[in-house]
């Protein structure tokens, strides 16, 4: 998997998250807003339609009242054809400009009275007209017709709404059944409806409830030839309320209100795109807002992310130069607190590394120094000179046996001490070295001392630093045995103490004062006659190799003797192979 940078992760995740939240909020808000807008539109449209239908209802009622008044007046009159009657009716009709005509027919369809006095069509047969028949059949019922072109009068085709009702009148002294007809100009309704505006395109139409015929429609001419369609089914289904009609190409809102007294329905049609302009505007604004916010969030988050990731990257660069070996650098901890902490820790770490490295350097230097010293000591000319002197003297005394012993010992001594240039040898070899040294010294000092070895067999296979016992024996001879008048004894012992090797070199010589001990350990008392490898050298080497916990331990008592104990970990040759850096 490809690893992403912090900056990338932060930028992308914050941006995505924010966009998600913004989207969520927008959707919820938009939903609420558009629902409210829709409600408002519904209410507005419904109010307009309600108002319109109220006006119409009122108009129809007033007209019906007038008709009833006329009906009443005629019914009460003694003679309908009298001039008084005519005058009374004329004045009643004149109160309203929209009453077109009034006509009274008897039950055979003969005209008894008409106002104004207009000639009826010759071809007309009133008794066969539908309205006339139904008025006679349902006595006392006022029927209001659909708007239609009045076909009664000569030279006149007027759009009217006809009100008709059966009536009983006094005509020529007889009681006659008949029908009263009043035509009201449709113009008023037409104008009333046309004035109502529902947006730029919206309109109102009137529907006849019983047959589903359109009473009024501003585009009636387009509906009959099917150039336009009006979804009257939906309007017929409801008596009141606002609905959304999505049957057509453009969604429309339809508000319905029923006019009770004529059985008409006023239907308001508004176009959704007009009604919901605020909503679509809101939509556009929201989209813009969303994009703007997304951009801002993106910019901000990338800014924040770079604020966080830049110090980290700087830190990384600093670490890179440390990687290349530049330990003197201090990393600056600019940036957030965490980065500062990180930088501080890093600086401390670098300090520690620096310290450790310095120590390694000094340790290596000392090791080399001491090893060189030990190496030099292997061929100490004084020792060689004394030994050879002894040999010469022996030869002079003809002590051949002893000469051979001495030379053999010397040769063994050198073989071991030169070795193969290794600084570590087995304890067995080191013991052999010490023994040869003691043999040579015994020859020199003519049995001034004797020696003993006490070796634990298991310890012999472990390794030891080379040339650590010989200097101690030399020290014992020089400070313990040589000055003493009695015959001395040197005991060397090796044994295991747990995981440690313990080597002891003890003598029964003069012993040492504390002062002398200090001198020896500080390395100031180096015998020029000796091997030249001082006790201090031994001590330092053991500590360098095995640690400060190990090394030499002196026990000395005046006139009793000195015991030096060496302690170091028991290691088999393999274990130290890698650690042998010399």
């Amino acid at each position: 998997m490809q690893r992403r940078s912090i900056q990338y992760i932060l930028t992308v995740s914050i941006t995505l998250f924010s966009i998600f939240i913004i989207l969520l909020v927008s959707v919820v808000l938009y939903g609420r807003f558009s629902a409210t807008a829709k409600e408002n539109a519904f209410r507005n449209s419904q109010q307009i339609v309600d108002q319109a239908s109220y006006n119409l209802e009122n108009y129809v009622e007033v007209t019906s009242d007038l008709f009833n008044m006329v009906h009443h007046a005629i019914g009460k009159s003694d003679d309908v054809s009298s001039d008084a009657m005519r005058n009374q009716l004329e004045s009643m009709m004149s109160t309203r400009t929209d009453t077109v005509a009034l006509a009274l027919f008897d039950d055979r369809g003969e005209l008894m009275l008409d106002l104004p006095n207009v000639e009826l069509k010759d071809t007309l047969q009133i008794s066969k007209e539908g309205w006339f028949r139904s008025a006679l059949d349902t006595a006392g019922h006022l029927s209001i017709s659909l708007p239609h072109v009045q076909n009664l009068y000569k030279q006149q085709f007027r759009w009217v709404v006809s009100l008709s009702k059966s009536i009983t009148v006094q005509h020529n002294g007889k009681q006659v059944h008949g029908v009263l007809l009043m035509d009201v100009n449709f113009n008023t309704i037409d104008e009333l409806s046309e004035r109502i505006s529902l947006g730029q395109k919206g309109y109102v139409y009137i529907l006849d409830e019983s047959a589903g015929n359109i009473v009024y429609h501003p585009q009636l001419e387009l509906i009959y030839p099917n150039l336009k369609e009006e979804n009257v089914e939906l309007a017929l289904k409801y008596t009141y309320g606002s609905f959304i009609d999505e049957s057509a190409e453009e969604a429309k809102m339809i508000s319905v209100q029923t006019i009770g007294n004529v059985g008409w329905k006023v239907v308001g049609v508004s176009y959704m795109d007009e009604v919901m302009t605020t909503s679509s505007e809101l939509n556009r604004s929201m989209t813009k807002l969303l994009i703007a916010l997304a951009l801002i969030v993106f910019l901000l988050s990338s800014l924040v992310a770079s604020r966080i990731s830049r110090p980290i990257r700087r830190l990384e660069l600093s670490m890179k130069s440390v990687e290349r070996g530049d330990f003197d650098l201090t990393v600056s901890g600019e940036g957030p607190l965490e980065i500062k902490h990180l930088a501080d820790r890093f600086n401390i770490m670098i300090g520690t590394i620096k310290q450790l490295m310095n120590r390694i350097v000094t340790e290596q230097e000392s090791k080399r120094k001491y090893e060189l010293e030990a190496l030099q000591a292997q061929i100490n000319p004084h020792f060689l000179y004394n030994t050879l002197n002894t040999v010469v003297r022996m030869v002079g005394m003809n002590k051949n046996e002893e000469v051979i012993t001495t030379i053999t010992a010397l040769s063994k001594l050198f073989r071991i001490s030169i070795g193969k240039g290794k600084s570590l040898i087995t304890i067995a070899d080191e013991m052999e070295h010490a023994r040869n040294y003691l043999i040579i010294q015994q020859m020199r000092f003519k049995n001034k001392f004797d020696y003993s070895f006490d070796m634990q067999e298991e310890a012999l296979s472990f390794v030891t630093l080379k040339l650590i016992i010989q200097p101690l024996i030399e020290n014992a001879l020089m400070h313990g045995i040589e000055p003493s008048v009695d015959k001395g004894h040197i005991a060397v012992s090796v044994k295991l103490d747990g995981s440690e090797v313990v080597i002891k070199v003890s003598d029964n010589g003069l012993g040492m004062s504390a002062e002398q001990l200090g001198k020896i350990l500080s390395g100031t008392a180096v015998s020029s006659k000796g091997s030249g490898v001082g006790v201090k050298n031994v001590q330092e080497r053991i500590r360098l190799y095995f640690g400060d916990a190990y090394g030499l331990h002196f026990e000395s008592e005046q006139e009793v003797g000195t015991t030096v104990t060496i302690r170091f970990p028991a290691l088999i040759p393999k274990q130290i192979e890698g650690g042998d850096r010399s």
């Binding site: 069509k121 010759d122 071809t123 659909l146 239609h148 072109v149 076909n151 000569k154 030279q155 085709f157 007027r158 759009w159 449709f186 113009n187 037409d190 730029q200 395109k201 015929n213 501003p218 585009q219 009636l220 001419e221 387009l222 009959y224 030839p225 150039l227 795109d273 007009e274 302009t277 505007e281 556009r284 604004s285 929201m286 813009k288 807002l289 994009i291 703007a292 916010l293 951009l295 801002i296 993106f298 910019l299 990338s302």
Partner: protein, 327 residues
């Protein structure tokens, strides 16, 4: 270098964001209402007189209300005024309307106008009568040739497929008149028993027309008369009424007027072939808007015709067609 580029991009994004924010918070009024087009449509009528052309105008006004455009209306003095109408048409080009709806009085005379309109890339939509002298975007109107055929078939129906027929044409009938007449003649050939025995022209003078018709009737036995427009139909019907020959001599006419309808009721004539001028006005303006906006429109929009008889004239759907104006 990269850093520079990055910050430039950041600033750019910030500016865009600020702009979007501004326009989101202040939705300016520069955004035009989508439905409202500022198209101007020129409507040139044959004449401003008569119910027919008034209905065309009403239809056009309905379209104006629906689509929210500007409509300029001009008309010739009368149906024969070719030069006057041509002049009006040429003038209207100067105003650079989006489209022109033209009910032309003549065909050939409008050739220069159509050429000029094509040069200015103003689509012309012919209504009522087709224009063949130049390029028009569309024709909205009835198929007069088919209507003529229809008239003769109707007449043949009234006559029971047998009889002598005379044609009374309008002297300013123009293209439509010619097409109707050709349709009648072609249809007459299909009926063995139907013979075209006479053809005369009339003007809008009813009196003169009555005399012409009287001449026809005196000259020969005539069973049916086909009159090609409103005026001639009235003239013929009045003459038939005068002679009380309405029952014997059948009359089929074109177009309608209240007078004609009354005569129809009196059985002086039998059938009227009626168009829907309101639809014509509406549709022509609707298509003119589409043409002005560069959309493709049908090259021919055929208006249906209604055959009006005494029986169906007061049907609900015919009332509005025959009596469009509420008064």
């Amino acid at each position: 270098m990269f850093k520079n580029k990055g910050s430039i991009v950041s600033w750019l994004l910030l500016i865009i964001a600020a702009f979007l924010l501004y326009s989101a918070l202040y939705p300016g009024n520069k955004e035009p209402k989508q439905e409202q087009t500022d198209e101007t449509i020129q409507l040139i009528l044959r004449t401003s007189k008569g119910d027919y052309w008034q209905n065309v105008t009403m239809g056009a006004q309905t379209a104006v209300k629906e689509f929210g455009i500007n409509l300029h209306i001009s008309a010739g003095a009368d149906e024969g005024d070719v030069q006057g109408q041509l002049q009006t048409a040429m003038q209207s080009l100067e105003a650079q309307p989006g489209a022109i709806v033209l009910g032309a009085n003549a065909d050939a005379a409008f050739e220069p106008f159509l050429k000029e309109a094509a040069k200015r890339h103003i689509p012309v939509i012919a209504i009522d009568s087709i224009l063949t002298s130049g390029k028009t975007a569309s024709y909205v109107g009835m198929d007069n040739y088919l209507a003529g055929k229809e008239a003769l078939r109707e007449m043949a129906g009234h006559l029971g497929g047998e009889g002598d027929i005379a044609i009374v044409a309008f002297n300013k009938g123009g293209i439509n008149g010619a097409l109707r007449e050709r349709g009648i003649r072609d249809a007459a050939a299909e009926y063995k028993g139907v013979h075209l025995v006479d053809r005369q022209t009339c003007s809008e003078e009813y009196g003169a027309c009555q005399q012409t018709v009287s001449g026809i009737l005196d000259k020969q036995k005539v069973d049916g008369i086909l009159s090609l427009n409103t005026e001639t139909s009235i003239g013929v019907a009045l003459e038939l009424k005068r002679r009380q020959a309405g029952d014997k001599i059948k009359l089929v006419g074109f177009d309608s007027s209240p007078e004609l309808l009354e005569l129809l009721q009196e059985n002086q004539l039998q059938t009227l072939i009626v168009q829907n001028p309101f639809s014509m006005g509406y549709l022509s303006v609707k298509h003119a808007i589409e043409a002005a906006q560069g959309r493709t429109i049908p090259s021919r929009v055929e208006m249906s015709v209604e055959l009006i008889t005494k029986e169906n004239m007061f049907w609900l759907k015919n009332q509005k067609l025959l009596f469009p104006v509420v008064q």
